[in-house]
Symmetry: C2
Subunit: 324 residues, 2 copies
Protein backbone atom coordinates (compact mmCIF):
# COMPACT_ATOMS: atom_id res chain seq x y z
CA UNK A 1 0.00 0.00 0.00
CA UNK A 2 1.26 3.46 -0.86
CA UNK A 3 1.27 6.30 1.63
CA UNK A 4 -1.79 7.99 0.21
CA UNK A 5 -3.88 4.82 0.19
CA UNK A 6 -2.85 4.19 3.77
CA UNK A 7 -3.99 7.68 4.71
CA UNK A 8 -7.33 7.15 2.96
CA UNK A 9 -7.81 3.85 4.79
CA UNK A 10 -7.05 5.48 8.12
CA UNK A 11 -9.34 8.43 7.49
CA UNK A 12 -12.25 6.11 6.75
CA UNK A 13 -12.04 4.85 10.33
CA UNK A 14 -12.18 8.32 11.84
CA UNK A 15 -15.30 10.13 12.97
CA UNK A 16 -15.18 13.60 11.52
CA UNK A 17 -15.17 16.57 13.85
CA UNK A 18 -18.21 18.71 12.97
CA UNK A 19 -17.38 21.97 11.19
CA UNK A 20 -13.71 21.19 10.74
CA UNK A 21 -12.18 24.46 9.54
CA UNK A 22 -9.39 22.76 7.56
CA UNK A 23 -9.95 19.58 5.58
CA UNK A 24 -8.04 16.38 6.15
CA UNK A 25 -5.12 16.38 3.76
CA UNK A 26 -4.31 20.10 3.81
CA UNK A 27 -0.83 21.09 5.04
CA UNK A 28 -2.02 21.80 8.60
CA UNK A 29 -4.96 20.99 10.85
CA UNK A 30 -7.00 23.50 12.80
CA UNK A 31 -9.43 23.82 15.66
CA UNK A 32 -12.01 26.58 15.58
CA UNK A 33 -11.84 28.57 18.82
CA UNK A 34 -14.65 30.92 17.81
CA UNK A 35 -14.29 34.70 17.33
CA UNK A 36 -12.64 34.13 13.94
CA UNK A 37 -9.67 32.46 15.68
CA UNK A 38 -8.15 29.17 14.63
CA UNK A 39 -5.67 27.16 16.66
CA UNK A 40 -3.40 25.63 14.02
CA UNK A 41 -1.49 22.40 14.45
CA UNK A 42 0.92 20.42 12.38
CA UNK A 43 2.98 17.35 13.01
CA UNK A 44 5.33 15.67 10.61
CA UNK A 45 7.85 12.98 11.30
CA UNK A 46 11.39 12.73 9.99
CA UNK A 47 12.55 9.14 9.74
CA UNK A 48 16.25 8.41 9.57
CA UNK A 49 16.12 5.74 6.90
CA UNK A 50 13.90 7.62 4.44
CA UNK A 51 14.37 11.33 5.16
CA UNK A 52 18.05 11.68 5.99
CA UNK A 53 20.28 11.43 2.94
CA UNK A 54 23.91 10.42 3.09
CA UNK A 55 26.12 13.28 4.15
CA UNK A 56 23.51 14.95 6.35
CA UNK A 57 24.64 15.40 9.95
CA UNK A 58 22.38 14.78 12.94
CA UNK A 59 22.32 18.51 13.55
CA UNK A 60 21.12 19.09 9.98
CA UNK A 61 18.57 16.27 10.24
CA UNK A 62 17.10 17.72 13.41
CA UNK A 63 16.98 21.20 11.91
CA UNK A 64 15.34 19.81 8.79
CA UNK A 65 12.64 18.14 10.90
CA UNK A 66 11.77 21.59 12.22
CA UNK A 67 12.01 23.33 8.84
CA UNK A 68 9.71 20.88 7.08
CA UNK A 69 7.02 21.54 9.69
CA UNK A 70 7.51 25.31 9.66
CA UNK A 71 7.23 25.18 5.88
CA UNK A 72 3.66 23.93 6.16
CA UNK A 73 2.85 26.84 8.45
CA UNK A 74 4.48 29.16 5.90
CA UNK A 75 2.25 27.77 3.17
CA UNK A 76 -0.86 28.46 5.24
CA UNK A 77 0.38 31.91 6.31
CA UNK A 78 0.39 30.99 9.99
CA UNK A 79 3.00 32.21 12.44
CA UNK A 80 4.45 29.35 14.51
CA UNK A 81 4.22 30.18 18.22
CA UNK A 82 5.67 27.07 19.82
CA UNK A 83 7.16 23.70 18.96
CA UNK A 84 7.18 20.31 20.63
CA UNK A 85 9.34 17.40 19.61
CA UNK A 86 8.85 13.70 20.01
CA UNK A 87 12.03 11.73 19.51
CA UNK A 88 12.59 8.05 18.90
CA UNK A 89 16.28 7.40 19.37
CA UNK A 90 18.23 4.28 18.49
CA UNK A 91 20.37 2.79 21.22
CA UNK A 92 23.99 3.72 21.22
CA UNK A 93 23.79 7.39 20.32
CA UNK A 94 26.57 9.29 22.08
CA UNK A 95 26.19 12.38 24.22
CA UNK A 96 27.67 14.33 21.31
CA UNK A 97 24.99 12.92 18.99
CA UNK A 98 22.23 13.96 21.37
CA UNK A 99 23.75 17.43 21.65
CA UNK A 100 23.78 17.72 17.87
CA UNK A 101 20.13 16.80 17.71
CA UNK A 102 19.28 19.36 20.40
CA UNK A 103 21.34 22.02 18.62
CA UNK A 104 19.64 21.37 15.30
CA UNK A 105 16.16 21.49 16.79
CA UNK A 106 16.97 24.73 18.55
CA UNK A 107 18.58 26.29 15.47
CA UNK A 108 15.48 25.55 13.40
CA UNK A 109 13.15 26.92 16.04
CA UNK A 110 15.12 30.11 16.67
CA UNK A 111 15.63 30.83 12.98
CA UNK A 112 11.87 31.12 12.61
CA UNK A 113 11.33 33.10 15.78
CA UNK A 114 9.97 30.35 17.94
CA UNK A 115 11.00 27.97 20.72
CA UNK A 116 10.80 24.33 21.64
CA UNK A 117 8.67 24.20 24.76
CA UNK A 118 8.51 20.48 25.43
CA UNK A 119 8.31 17.00 24.07
CA UNK A 120 9.06 13.42 24.68
CA UNK A 121 11.88 10.97 24.13
CA UNK A 122 11.79 7.22 23.73
CA UNK A 123 13.71 4.40 22.22
CA UNK A 124 13.22 3.33 18.61
CA UNK A 125 15.16 1.18 16.23
CA UNK A 126 15.42 4.01 13.69
CA UNK A 127 15.97 7.70 14.30
CA UNK A 128 12.56 9.39 14.53
CA UNK A 129 12.20 13.14 14.92
CA UNK A 130 8.57 14.13 15.11
CA UNK A 131 7.96 17.86 15.38
CA UNK A 132 4.71 19.52 16.32
CA UNK A 133 3.97 23.15 15.60
CA UNK A 134 1.30 25.29 17.23
CA UNK A 135 0.08 28.66 16.04
CA UNK A 136 -2.95 30.93 15.86
CA UNK A 137 -4.47 32.76 12.90
CA UNK A 138 -7.60 34.65 12.00
CA UNK A 139 -9.87 32.19 10.24
CA UNK A 140 -10.30 34.53 7.29
CA UNK A 141 -6.54 34.78 6.72
CA UNK A 142 -5.53 31.14 6.49
CA UNK A 143 -4.41 30.09 2.99
CA UNK A 144 -5.90 26.70 2.17
CA UNK A 145 -5.33 24.45 -0.83
CA UNK A 146 -8.91 24.72 -1.93
CA UNK A 147 -9.57 28.27 -3.08
CA UNK A 148 -8.00 28.48 -6.56
CA UNK A 149 -10.36 29.55 -9.37
CA UNK A 150 -9.99 29.43 -13.17
CA UNK A 151 -8.01 32.45 -14.32
CA UNK A 152 -5.92 32.71 -11.14
CA UNK A 153 -2.22 33.24 -11.65
CA UNK A 154 -0.03 30.40 -10.40
CA UNK A 155 3.21 31.57 -8.89
CA UNK A 156 6.09 30.17 -6.91
CA UNK A 157 8.37 31.81 -4.37
CA UNK A 158 11.64 30.64 -5.87
CA UNK A 159 13.29 28.45 -8.47
CA UNK A 160 13.09 24.65 -8.49
CA UNK A 161 15.36 21.71 -9.18
CA UNK A 162 18.17 22.35 -6.76
CA UNK A 163 17.23 19.70 -4.23
CA UNK A 164 16.74 16.97 -6.83
CA UNK A 165 20.21 17.78 -8.19
CA UNK A 166 21.65 18.08 -4.70
CA UNK A 167 20.25 14.73 -3.64
CA UNK A 168 21.74 12.99 -6.63
CA UNK A 169 25.13 14.50 -5.76
CA UNK A 170 24.87 13.37 -2.13
CA UNK A 171 23.83 9.87 -3.17
CA UNK A 172 26.87 9.51 -5.38
CA UNK A 173 29.14 10.75 -2.62
CA UNK A 174 31.60 12.41 -4.95
CA UNK A 175 33.42 14.85 -2.74
CA UNK A 176 34.59 16.83 -5.77
CA UNK A 177 31.14 17.52 -7.10
CA UNK A 178 29.97 18.34 -3.56
CA UNK A 179 32.29 21.30 -3.44
CA UNK A 180 31.67 22.33 -7.04
CA UNK A 181 27.90 22.27 -6.57
CA UNK A 182 27.89 23.62 -3.06
CA UNK A 183 24.64 25.53 -3.54
CA UNK A 184 22.78 22.43 -4.70
CA UNK A 185 24.04 20.33 -1.81
CA UNK A 186 23.20 23.11 0.62
CA UNK A 187 19.61 23.20 -0.62
CA UNK A 188 19.27 19.63 0.65
CA UNK A 189 21.25 19.87 3.86
CA UNK A 190 20.07 23.29 4.98
CA UNK A 191 16.57 23.80 3.58
CA UNK A 192 14.77 27.05 4.29
CA UNK A 193 11.07 27.54 4.96
CA UNK A 194 9.39 30.47 3.20
CA UNK A 195 7.83 31.76 6.37
CA UNK A 196 8.25 35.51 5.90
CA UNK A 197 6.61 35.59 2.51
CA UNK A 198 3.85 33.22 3.64
CA UNK A 199 3.01 35.50 6.56
CA UNK A 200 3.18 38.63 4.41
CA UNK A 201 0.78 37.15 1.85
CA UNK A 202 -1.75 35.82 4.36
CA UNK A 203 -1.92 39.21 6.05
CA UNK A 204 -2.83 40.81 2.70
CA UNK A 205 -5.39 38.12 1.83
CA UNK A 206 -4.23 38.04 -1.77
CA UNK A 207 -3.83 34.29 -2.17
CA UNK A 208 -6.65 31.91 -3.14
CA UNK A 209 -4.73 28.67 -2.65
CA UNK A 210 -1.34 27.70 -1.30
CA UNK A 211 0.77 24.63 -0.63
CA UNK A 212 4.39 23.98 0.11
CA UNK A 213 6.33 22.08 -2.50
CA UNK A 214 7.84 19.45 -0.25
CA UNK A 215 6.48 16.66 -2.48
CA UNK A 216 7.67 18.36 -5.64
CA UNK A 217 6.24 21.02 -7.95
CA UNK A 218 4.18 18.61 -10.06
CA UNK A 219 2.59 16.99 -7.05
CA UNK A 220 1.87 20.37 -5.47
CA UNK A 221 0.08 21.58 -8.58
CA UNK A 222 -2.01 18.42 -8.68
CA UNK A 223 -2.88 18.78 -5.00
CA UNK A 224 -4.12 22.34 -5.42
CA UNK A 225 -5.95 21.29 -8.58
CA UNK A 226 -7.69 18.45 -6.75
CA UNK A 227 -8.59 20.48 -3.66
CA UNK A 228 -9.73 23.52 -5.69
CA UNK A 229 -11.37 21.54 -8.52
CA UNK A 230 -9.43 23.35 -11.21
CA UNK A 231 -6.62 22.56 -13.64
CA UNK A 232 -3.40 24.37 -14.47
CA UNK A 233 -1.51 25.40 -17.57
CA UNK A 234 2.14 25.97 -16.78
CA UNK A 235 3.84 28.19 -19.35
CA UNK A 236 7.18 28.78 -17.74
CA UNK A 237 9.25 26.29 -15.80
CA UNK A 238 10.94 27.91 -12.81
CA UNK A 239 14.19 25.97 -13.13
CA UNK A 240 17.05 27.17 -10.94
CA UNK A 241 20.12 28.30 -12.85
CA UNK A 242 22.38 25.90 -10.96
CA UNK A 243 20.01 23.01 -11.55
CA UNK A 244 20.04 23.76 -15.27
CA UNK A 245 23.85 23.82 -15.35
CA UNK A 246 24.01 20.59 -13.37
CA UNK A 247 21.51 18.95 -15.72
CA UNK A 248 23.52 19.99 -18.77
CA UNK A 249 26.78 18.71 -17.37
CA UNK A 250 25.23 15.41 -16.30
CA UNK A 251 22.92 14.92 -19.28
CA UNK A 252 19.83 15.08 -17.11
CA UNK A 253 16.47 16.54 -18.06
CA UNK A 254 16.05 19.91 -16.30
CA UNK A 255 12.27 19.58 -16.63
CA UNK A 256 12.38 16.40 -14.58
CA UNK A 257 14.50 18.04 -11.90
CA UNK A 258 12.12 20.98 -11.77
CA UNK A 259 8.81 19.14 -11.70
CA UNK A 260 9.47 15.88 -9.95
CA UNK A 261 11.99 16.61 -7.23
CA UNK A 262 10.93 16.99 -3.66
CA UNK A 263 12.07 18.16 -0.26
CA UNK A 264 11.93 21.59 -1.79
CA UNK A 265 10.24 24.14 0.41
CA UNK A 266 9.03 26.86 -1.92
CA UNK A 267 5.39 27.89 -1.86
CA UNK A 268 3.10 27.24 -4.81
CA UNK A 269 0.38 29.86 -4.90
CA UNK A 270 -2.77 30.80 -6.76
CA UNK A 271 -3.50 34.52 -6.90
CA UNK A 272 -6.37 36.53 -8.38
CA UNK A 273 -5.04 38.54 -11.35
CA UNK A 274 -6.41 41.81 -9.96
CA UNK A 275 -4.44 41.23 -6.75
CA UNK A 276 -1.24 40.15 -8.49
CA UNK A 277 0.55 43.48 -8.18
CA UNK A 278 -0.34 43.75 -4.51
CA UNK A 279 0.87 40.21 -3.89
CA UNK A 280 4.14 40.92 -5.70
CA UNK A 281 4.71 44.05 -3.66
CA UNK A 282 3.93 42.28 -0.38
CA UNK A 283 6.42 39.56 -1.29
CA UNK A 284 9.05 42.05 -2.45
CA UNK A 285 8.85 43.80 0.91
CA UNK A 286 10.24 40.62 2.50
CA UNK A 287 12.80 40.16 -0.29
CA UNK A 288 10.94 37.52 -2.21
CA UNK A 289 10.28 37.67 -5.95
CA UNK A 290 7.10 35.88 -6.91
CA UNK A 291 7.62 33.96 -10.15
CA UNK A 292 4.46 33.52 -12.25
CA UNK A 293 4.46 30.16 -13.99
CA UNK A 294 0.97 29.80 -15.44
CA UNK A 295 -2.76 30.00 -14.88
CA UNK A 296 -5.55 28.00 -13.28
CA UNK A 297 -8.09 26.62 -15.76
CA UNK A 298 -11.63 25.30 -15.62
CA UNK A 299 -10.47 22.20 -17.46
CA UNK A 300 -9.24 19.87 -14.74
CA UNK A 301 -5.89 18.93 -16.19
CA UNK A 302 -2.40 19.93 -15.22
CA UNK A 303 -0.39 20.60 -18.37
CA UNK A 304 2.84 22.13 -19.49
CA UNK A 305 2.52 24.44 -22.48
CA UNK A 306 5.84 25.75 -23.71
CA UNK A 307 6.44 27.21 -27.16
CA UNK A 308 3.08 25.91 -28.32
CA UNK A 309 3.75 22.33 -27.29
CA UNK A 310 1.44 20.87 -24.67
CA UNK A 311 2.29 17.89 -22.48
CA UNK A 312 0.74 16.51 -19.32
CA UNK A 313 2.36 17.00 -15.98
CA UNK A 314 2.05 13.71 -14.10
CA UNK A 315 0.85 13.51 -10.53
CA UNK A 316 4.20 12.09 -9.53
CA UNK A 317 5.88 13.08 -6.35
CA UNK A 318 7.89 11.83 -3.53
CA UNK A 319 5.82 9.22 -1.75
CA UNK A 320 6.91 6.96 1.07
CA UNK A 321 6.41 3.19 0.79
CA UNK A 322 6.26 3.22 -2.98
CA UNK A 323 9.73 4.57 -3.52
CA UNK A 324 12.66 3.06 -1.74
CA UNK B 1 22.54 6.99 28.44
CA UNK B 2 19.19 6.67 30.17
CA UNK B 3 16.12 8.49 28.96
CA UNK B 4 16.27 11.18 31.61
CA UNK B 5 19.91 11.99 30.98
CA UNK B 6 19.15 12.22 27.27
CA UNK B 7 16.34 14.67 27.99
CA UNK B 8 18.65 16.79 30.19
CA UNK B 9 21.28 16.81 27.45
CA UNK B 10 18.72 17.89 24.87
CA UNK B 11 17.28 20.61 27.09
CA UNK B 12 20.70 22.13 27.61
CA UNK B 13 20.82 22.87 23.89
CA UNK B 14 17.49 24.65 23.83
CA UNK B 15 16.94 28.36 24.26
CA UNK B 16 14.21 28.82 26.81
CA UNK B 17 11.04 30.62 25.82
CA UNK B 18 10.67 33.64 28.12
CA UNK B 19 7.89 33.27 30.73
CA UNK B 20 7.16 29.66 29.95
CA UNK B 21 3.95 28.92 31.84
CA UNK B 22 4.74 25.22 32.31
CA UNK B 23 8.24 23.95 33.06
CA UNK B 24 10.11 21.47 30.90
CA UNK B 25 9.46 18.04 32.33
CA UNK B 26 5.88 18.54 33.44
CA UNK B 27 3.24 16.27 31.85
CA UNK B 28 2.24 18.85 29.23
CA UNK B 29 3.62 21.99 27.63
CA UNK B 30 1.80 25.29 27.31
CA UNK B 31 1.85 28.56 25.46
CA UNK B 32 0.54 31.67 27.19
CA UNK B 33 -2.06 33.35 24.97
CA UNK B 34 -2.67 36.17 27.44
CA UNK B 35 -6.02 36.88 29.18
CA UNK B 36 -5.37 34.00 31.60
CA UNK B 37 -5.61 31.53 28.69
CA UNK B 38 -3.11 28.76 28.03
CA UNK B 39 -2.90 26.70 24.87
CA UNK B 40 -1.87 23.27 26.12
CA UNK B 41 0.05 20.74 24.06
CA UNK B 42 1.28 17.24 24.61
CA UNK B 43 2.94 14.70 22.39
CA UNK B 44 4.01 11.23 23.35
CA UNK B 45 5.14 8.42 21.13
CA UNK B 46 4.19 4.78 21.34
CA UNK B 47 6.92 2.54 19.95
CA UNK B 48 6.02 -1.01 18.94
CA UNK B 49 9.08 -2.71 20.38
CA UNK B 50 8.97 -1.08 23.82
CA UNK B 51 5.35 -0.06 24.43
CA UNK B 52 3.30 -2.84 22.90
CA UNK B 53 3.34 -6.01 25.02
CA UNK B 54 2.66 -9.45 23.62
CA UNK B 55 -1.02 -10.08 23.18
CA UNK B 56 -1.93 -6.46 22.47
CA UNK B 57 -3.69 -5.98 19.13
CA UNK B 58 -2.92 -3.10 16.77
CA UNK B 59 -6.32 -1.64 17.62
CA UNK B 60 -5.43 -1.71 21.31
CA UNK B 61 -1.97 -0.29 20.69
CA UNK B 62 -3.40 2.64 18.73
CA UNK B 63 -6.03 3.28 21.37
CA UNK B 64 -3.36 3.12 24.07
CA UNK B 65 -1.28 5.73 22.23
CA UNK B 66 -4.25 8.08 22.52
CA UNK B 67 -5.05 7.17 26.13
CA UNK B 68 -1.51 7.76 27.37
CA UNK B 69 -1.60 11.28 25.94
CA UNK B 70 -5.10 12.03 27.22
CA UNK B 71 -3.93 10.84 30.65
CA UNK B 72 -1.40 13.67 30.80
CA UNK B 73 -4.18 16.14 30.03
CA UNK B 74 -6.27 14.50 32.76
CA UNK B 75 -3.44 14.99 35.25
CA UNK B 76 -3.26 18.69 34.40
CA UNK B 77 -7.04 19.09 34.41
CA UNK B 78 -7.15 20.16 30.77
CA UNK B 79 -9.91 19.17 28.38
CA UNK B 80 -8.52 17.76 25.12
CA UNK B 81 -10.06 19.59 22.17
CA UNK B 82 -8.35 17.94 19.22
CA UNK B 83 -5.82 15.25 18.39
CA UNK B 84 -3.27 14.77 15.63
CA UNK B 85 -1.38 11.58 14.95
CA UNK B 86 1.96 10.99 13.34
CA UNK B 87 2.48 7.40 12.29
CA UNK B 88 5.61 5.52 11.34
CA UNK B 89 4.50 2.27 9.77
CA UNK B 90 6.63 -0.74 8.94
CA UNK B 91 6.35 -2.08 5.41
CA UNK B 92 4.03 -4.96 4.88
CA UNK B 93 1.12 -3.94 7.08
CA UNK B 94 -2.14 -5.14 5.53
CA UNK B 95 -5.21 -3.03 4.85
CA UNK B 96 -6.82 -4.78 7.82
CA UNK B 97 -3.88 -3.74 10.03
CA UNK B 98 -4.23 -0.11 8.97
CA UNK B 99 -7.97 -0.24 9.61
CA UNK B 100 -7.30 -1.58 13.10
CA UNK B 101 -4.92 1.27 13.79
CA UNK B 102 -7.47 3.81 12.53
CA UNK B 103 -10.21 2.21 14.61
CA UNK B 104 -8.12 2.24 17.77
CA UNK B 105 -7.12 5.88 17.30
CA UNK B 106 -10.73 6.86 16.74
CA UNK B 107 -12.01 4.81 19.68
CA UNK B 108 -9.55 6.51 22.02
CA UNK B 109 -10.42 9.97 20.73
CA UNK B 110 -14.18 9.48 20.85
CA UNK B 111 -14.13 7.90 24.30
CA UNK B 112 -12.70 11.14 25.67
CA UNK B 113 -14.99 13.39 23.69
CA UNK B 114 -12.55 14.53 21.05
CA UNK B 115 -11.59 13.89 17.43
CA UNK B 116 -8.54 13.25 15.33
CA UNK B 117 -8.31 16.21 13.00
CA UNK B 118 -5.15 15.43 11.07
CA UNK B 119 -1.68 14.01 11.05
CA UNK B 120 0.99 12.44 9.00
CA UNK B 121 2.07 9.00 7.89
CA UNK B 122 5.48 7.75 6.91
CA UNK B 123 7.51 4.62 6.74
CA UNK B 124 9.53 3.38 9.72
CA UNK B 125 11.18 0.11 10.58
CA UNK B 126 9.23 -0.16 13.81
CA UNK B 127 5.62 0.77 14.51
CA UNK B 128 5.52 4.36 15.76
CA UNK B 129 2.29 6.02 16.87
CA UNK B 130 2.90 9.56 17.96
CA UNK B 131 -0.17 11.39 19.23
CA UNK B 132 -0.49 15.09 19.80
CA UNK B 133 -3.17 16.63 21.97
CA UNK B 134 -4.33 20.23 21.96
CA UNK B 135 -6.46 21.93 24.56
CA UNK B 136 -7.11 25.22 26.33
CA UNK B 137 -7.36 26.05 30.01
CA UNK B 138 -7.48 29.05 32.30
CA UNK B 139 -3.95 29.59 33.51
CA UNK B 140 -5.09 29.63 37.12
CA UNK B 141 -6.75 26.21 36.81
CA UNK B 142 -3.93 24.09 35.43
CA UNK B 143 -2.63 21.50 37.91
CA UNK B 144 1.17 21.41 37.76
CA UNK B 145 3.63 19.10 39.46
CA UNK B 146 5.15 21.89 41.45
CA UNK B 147 2.61 23.18 43.96
CA UNK B 148 2.61 20.58 46.76
CA UNK B 149 3.37 21.94 50.26
CA UNK B 150 4.22 20.17 53.53
CA UNK B 151 1.03 18.96 55.20
CA UNK B 152 -0.85 18.39 51.92
CA UNK B 153 -2.73 15.15 51.66
CA UNK B 154 -1.47 12.80 48.94
CA UNK B 155 -4.22 10.91 47.23
CA UNK B 156 -4.69 8.67 44.22
CA UNK B 157 -7.70 8.15 41.98
CA UNK B 158 -7.69 4.37 42.10
CA UNK B 159 -5.83 1.26 43.24
CA UNK B 160 -2.42 0.22 41.90
CA UNK B 161 -0.61 -2.94 40.88
CA UNK B 162 -2.95 -4.30 38.26
CA UNK B 163 -0.86 -3.39 35.24
CA UNK B 164 2.37 -4.78 36.69
CA UNK B 165 0.55 -8.05 37.36
CA UNK B 166 -1.19 -7.94 33.98
CA UNK B 167 2.08 -7.38 32.15
CA UNK B 168 3.70 -10.34 33.83
CA UNK B 169 0.75 -12.49 32.76
CA UNK B 170 0.97 -11.28 29.15
CA UNK B 171 4.71 -11.85 29.04
CA UNK B 172 4.32 -15.45 30.17
CA UNK B 173 1.59 -16.02 27.59
CA UNK B 174 -0.33 -18.50 29.70
CA UNK B 175 -3.76 -18.54 28.18
CA UNK B 176 -5.25 -20.03 31.33
CA UNK B 177 -4.07 -17.28 33.62
CA UNK B 178 -5.16 -14.71 31.03
CA UNK B 179 -8.76 -15.75 31.44
CA UNK B 180 -8.53 -16.19 35.21
CA UNK B 181 -6.99 -12.74 35.67
CA UNK B 182 -9.03 -11.01 33.02
CA UNK B 183 -9.23 -7.76 34.96
CA UNK B 184 -5.44 -7.54 35.31
CA UNK B 185 -4.86 -8.23 31.64
CA UNK B 186 -7.53 -5.72 30.68
CA UNK B 187 -5.80 -3.01 32.71
CA UNK B 188 -2.83 -3.38 30.34
CA UNK B 189 -4.68 -3.84 27.06
CA UNK B 190 -7.44 -1.31 27.61
CA UNK B 191 -6.07 1.39 29.90
CA UNK B 192 -8.33 4.26 30.91
CA UNK B 193 -7.36 7.88 31.39
CA UNK B 194 -8.80 9.63 34.47
CA UNK B 195 -10.06 12.57 32.48
CA UNK B 196 -13.39 13.21 34.18
CA UNK B 197 -11.93 13.42 37.65
CA UNK B 198 -8.99 15.50 36.44
CA UNK B 199 -11.35 18.03 34.87
CA UNK B 200 -13.62 18.08 37.92
CA UNK B 201 -10.69 18.77 40.25
CA UNK B 202 -9.08 21.49 38.12
CA UNK B 203 -12.40 23.32 37.92
CA UNK B 204 -12.59 23.39 41.72
CA UNK B 205 -8.95 24.46 42.14
CA UNK B 206 -8.49 22.08 45.06
CA UNK B 207 -5.27 20.40 43.92
CA UNK B 208 -1.78 21.76 44.62
CA UNK B 209 0.13 19.22 42.52
CA UNK B 210 -0.77 16.47 40.11
CA UNK B 211 0.86 13.90 37.85
CA UNK B 212 -0.29 10.80 36.07
CA UNK B 213 1.22 7.54 37.25
CA UNK B 214 2.33 6.21 33.87
CA UNK B 215 5.87 5.71 35.19
CA UNK B 216 4.66 4.03 38.37
CA UNK B 217 3.50 5.27 41.76
CA UNK B 218 6.99 5.52 43.29
CA UNK B 219 8.34 7.51 40.38
CA UNK B 220 5.30 9.80 40.37
CA UNK B 221 5.75 10.60 44.06
CA UNK B 222 9.42 11.38 43.48
CA UNK B 223 8.57 13.61 40.53
CA UNK B 224 6.07 15.68 42.52
CA UNK B 225 8.53 15.77 45.43
CA UNK B 226 11.30 17.06 43.16
CA UNK B 227 9.14 19.64 41.37
CA UNK B 228 7.47 20.85 44.59
CA UNK B 229 10.58 20.59 46.81
CA UNK B 230 8.84 18.48 49.41
CA UNK B 231 8.93 14.87 50.61
CA UNK B 232 6.20 12.33 51.22
CA UNK B 233 5.28 9.86 53.92
CA UNK B 234 3.05 7.15 52.51
CA UNK B 235 1.01 5.42 55.23
CA UNK B 236 -1.30 3.28 53.17
CA UNK B 237 -0.46 1.41 50.01
CA UNK B 238 -3.32 1.54 47.50
CA UNK B 239 -2.90 -2.03 46.27
CA UNK B 240 -5.68 -3.34 44.05
CA UNK B 241 -7.49 -6.38 45.45
CA UNK B 242 -6.79 -8.40 42.30
CA UNK B 243 -3.12 -7.46 42.35
CA UNK B 244 -2.88 -8.63 45.96
CA UNK B 245 -4.51 -11.97 45.10
CA UNK B 246 -2.25 -12.41 42.10
CA UNK B 247 0.81 -11.60 44.22
CA UNK B 248 -0.19 -14.16 46.83
CA UNK B 249 -0.79 -16.91 44.31
CA UNK B 250 2.49 -16.19 42.52
CA UNK B 251 4.61 -15.44 45.58
CA UNK B 252 5.25 -11.88 44.46
CA UNK B 253 5.61 -8.84 46.68
CA UNK B 254 2.40 -6.76 46.44
CA UNK B 255 4.35 -3.66 47.54
CA UNK B 256 6.61 -4.02 44.49
CA UNK B 257 3.62 -4.37 42.18
CA UNK B 258 2.01 -1.30 43.71
CA UNK B 259 4.97 1.03 43.79
CA UNK B 260 7.13 0.08 40.88
CA UNK B 261 4.77 -0.89 38.08
CA UNK B 262 4.02 1.49 35.29
CA UNK B 263 1.68 2.11 32.38
CA UNK B 264 -0.88 2.76 35.06
CA UNK B 265 -2.94 5.85 34.43
CA UNK B 266 -4.24 6.91 37.80
CA UNK B 267 -3.64 10.44 39.03
CA UNK B 268 -1.38 11.14 42.00
CA UNK B 269 -2.52 14.32 43.71
CA UNK B 270 -1.56 16.67 46.51
CA UNK B 271 -4.47 18.43 48.18
CA UNK B 272 -4.66 21.03 50.96
CA UNK B 273 -6.25 19.40 54.04
CA UNK B 274 -8.88 22.15 54.34
CA UNK B 275 -9.98 21.44 50.74
CA UNK B 276 -9.94 17.67 51.11
CA UNK B 277 -13.69 17.25 51.64
CA UNK B 278 -14.45 19.48 48.69
CA UNK B 279 -12.01 17.53 46.52
CA UNK B 280 -13.55 14.22 47.59
CA UNK B 281 -17.02 15.47 46.78
CA UNK B 282 -15.96 16.81 43.37
CA UNK B 283 -14.40 13.43 42.57
CA UNK B 284 -17.39 11.50 43.88
CA UNK B 285 -19.68 13.45 41.58
CA UNK B 286 -17.86 11.84 38.64
CA UNK B 287 -17.85 8.43 40.33
CA UNK B 288 -14.28 8.51 41.53
CA UNK B 289 -13.23 7.76 45.10
CA UNK B 290 -10.11 9.61 46.09
CA UNK B 291 -7.86 7.35 48.16
CA UNK B 292 -5.63 9.20 50.65
CA UNK B 293 -2.27 7.48 50.96
CA UNK B 294 -0.16 9.88 53.02
CA UNK B 295 1.12 13.41 53.50
CA UNK B 296 3.64 15.79 52.02
CA UNK B 297 6.50 16.66 54.35
CA UNK B 298 9.13 19.38 54.63
CA UNK B 299 11.79 16.71 54.84
CA UNK B 300 12.66 15.90 51.26
CA UNK B 301 12.42 12.13 51.38
CA UNK B 302 9.85 9.76 50.00
CA UNK B 303 9.19 7.07 52.59
CA UNK B 304 6.76 4.33 53.36
CA UNK B 305 5.61 4.24 56.98
CA UNK B 306 3.37 1.31 57.73
CA UNK B 307 2.64 -0.02 61.21
CA UNK B 308 5.45 2.05 62.63
CA UNK B 309 8.10 0.73 60.22
CA UNK B 310 9.71 3.23 57.90
CA UNK B 311 11.42 2.35 54.63
CA UNK B 312 12.53 4.42 51.67
CA UNK B 313 10.59 4.42 48.45
CA UNK B 314 13.16 4.35 45.64
CA UNK B 315 12.96 6.64 42.64
CA UNK B 316 12.57 3.64 40.40
CA UNK B 317 10.21 3.64 37.52
CA UNK B 318 9.77 2.57 34.01
CA UNK B 319 12.47 4.21 31.94
CA UNK B 320 13.29 3.57 28.32
CA UNK B 321 16.86 2.69 27.31
CA UNK B 322 17.79 1.44 30.77
CA UNK B 323 15.25 -1.33 30.89
CA UNK B 324 14.93 -3.76 28.05
Amino acid sequence: MGERRIIKTLEKQLDRMPNMPVEFGDDVSAYDLGNDQLAVLKTDMLVGATDVPKGMTLRQAARKAVVMNISDFAAKGVKPLALLTSLGLPRGLSKKDIEQIGEGLNAGARQYGTYIIGGDTGEASDLIISVLVFGMIQKSNIMLRSGARPGDIVAVTGPFGKTAAGLSILCKEKQKSRSKWRILVKSVLMPEARLRVGLALSKKRVVTASIDSSDGLAWSLHEIARASRVGFVVRKLPTAKEAREFAEENKLDPTELTLYGGEEYELVLAIKPRLWQEAKRAAARVNCTLIPIGRATAERQVVLNIEGRTSRISPKGYEHFKTS
